[in-house]
Symmetry: C2
Subunit: 333 residues, 2 copies
DNA sequence: GTGAAAGCGCTAACAG
DNA sequence: CTGTTAGCGCTTTCAC
């Protein structure tokens, strides 16, 4: 594929009549070399079609100009926004972007990090499945930035879902609901805890009864069991861990002939693609997921420049907002 | 981040009382070294927590164990399946997966390839925007595999949409439709050409009139203009370039009070997430996009092993199938 | 079967 | 400001 020997700085150096190091400097540290020499070297390099070898650069300098993003499930539309934001930010900084999925497994996550460690400058961990302790430990050795997860001492970018959950409760309360059930996501999911706490906080003083069910798989297929479980509680409002689950719930309710929102109101989280055109269109807590991805990469880049010095943990909190559509309405009766 | 000097094969060699080259061999070419020595080396390496440096390996050997996938628009759900399939296949082969987007620009695509050339073993180009000539040229220097694009002499994996388009025509004809309009995708889109040809072929001998409109942006927002354009033709059936556009069309038709499928039938391509729960649920040509991504990576890997020898171009054609839902019905009148 | 040694392409002191 | 000189960590002849 690449037989015709790539041209190296040595080729350029010879052709330009200077030392290899001068070529290197002309290319990287424009100011440390005579303007005329520099111009000449650049022209020769250009003419010879010189392309630097990122590998050699990285091996020598330790900087790879690459970041890796690990997501639990590459299939989940929830992550698309985050991935997009991260990828965009990276490529804007001319940073190579590696995407990898961990299959919802903490072990796999750790292995991937170990595996990629030498090839990247840092990791964006989206909805990491690793326990806090593991993250602290990994952070000793690696440059990490978390998305939708907060851990003391580590940089993170999260879309608020606590304050947002309060808004959900207020919205439902104002519609006359007196009780809601939260259909919980994965057991160790950090956002699940946040959401639950937000709902509980919001309910306090509003004469709203909140119940937690689950965990349910945060996918459309999880909606069947979740909906059935919710119905038996008699609650008039259902808050699902995410839109995928909410859509599954809508589907199941429709099968069972339960009218939404007339009999039951349904709320989701994330405002994923499709949330606006499912039936009824889903009321959901929307947030700038792409911003979160963007910020995480940014935190990584910041951290990189601060050399070895331990940076005070930067936490970015992005605001969410409730998008009210057709799946919520006045409480039944 | 990584201050405590990584252990290298030299450390292991010293500790094990052998030469570095022996360590290297023990790790890569198990058979070229005495079983006992090998065992010993492996244990020492393990004990010392040795991790090979992919960079150094790549620099020396020329193989990076990495592939890059370029997609025009990382935001488009159409690509999610392809990305997923490719990522999965790569990680199964312990190949690092780089994802990059080209913003629908041929120039950007070329630049990215140039940029990543030294860091990867090959490229998966999904729906490449580059003209055939450019691809041939690039293939001289790089290991390429195409997804949803066929170019003579280059390996590719495509989901059939030509035969599938015939099925669409037959389906519509059997419902009594006598004319359809194709809402075309981007001007230089290869699948757009395939689909159009498939529709024309299918219409021949079926007393079906086909019209092509567009190009339209293959996104939901494109649906407004597309739907309006389609309506003025008086056609009773609309075939949209992809599901995104089709969903946009559904939305516009609903706004205008045009009943689907009673007044107009609508068909899409891809069966993306959401196609089953929009209203009415979309009839669409589904295909194994993830398989296409998977196959493309596979082609890359095959090609890599065949050393320099030019491999006869392998083309993988994946079958599509028509998923009939609620957006198509008997022709009006 | 194993060791010595020469790089892969680049950067970073260190002199001059 | 520029050239010389070591490597970065690994693989790969080439001898022994």
């Amino acid at each position: 594929m690449d037989s015709p020997k790539r041209t190296t700085i040595y080729d350029v150096a010879r052709e330009a009549g200077v030392a290899a190091s001068t070529v290197s400097r002309a290319l990287r540290n424009p100011r440390r070399v005579n303007a005329a020499t520099r111009e000449h070297v650049l022209q020769v390099a250009e003419r010879m079609g010189y392309r630097p070898s990122p590998l050699a650069t990285a091996l020598q300098s330790g900087r790879t100009a690459t970041v890796a993003m690990l997501v639990p499930d590459i299939t989940n539309p929830h992550f698309f926004g985050t991935i997009k934001g991260a990828e965009r930010r990276a490529s804007a900084a001319r940073i190579t972007f590696i995407l990898s999925h961990t299959e919802e497994s903490a072990d796999s996550e750790r292995t991937q990090i170990e595996h990629l460690a030498r090839s990247v400058d840092g990791f964006v961990l989206a909805s990491s499945r690793l326990p806090d302790e593991s993250l602290w430990e990994l952070a000793e050795e690696h440059n990490l930035a978390l998305v939708n997860r907060e851990v003391k001492g580590l940089p993170s970018a999260v879309v608020d879902s606590r304050v947002g959950s309060r808004q959900i409760v207020e919205h439902l309360a104002s519609l006359g609901h007196r009780s809601l059930v939260y259909l919980s996501g994965p057991h160790r999911s950090w956002p699940a805890g946040e959401r639950w706490r937000g709902l509980v906080d919001g309910a306090r003083g509003l004469d709203m009864k909140v119940t937690r069910l689950g965990p349910f798989p945060p996918r459309v297929v999880g909606g069947g069991a979740a909906a059935d479980a919710a119905l038996v509680t008699g609650a008039t409002a259902v808050v699902a861990h995410n839109d995928l689950l909410a859509i599954g719930v809508l589907r199941r309710l429709s099968e069972r002939g339960v009218a939404v929102p007339d009999q039951v109101s349904v709320v989701g989280y994330d405002d994923i693609f499709g949330a606006d055109f499912c039936v009824p269109a889903l009321t959901t807590l929307a947030g700038p997921q792409d911003e979160a991805g963007r910020s995480a990469v940014e935190l990584l880049l910041e951290n990189r420049s601060r050399s070895t010095a331990r940076t005070p943990d930067r936490r970015v909190m992005l605001p969410s907002h409730l998008v009210i559509r057709d799946s919520t309405g006045p409480a039944a009766r």
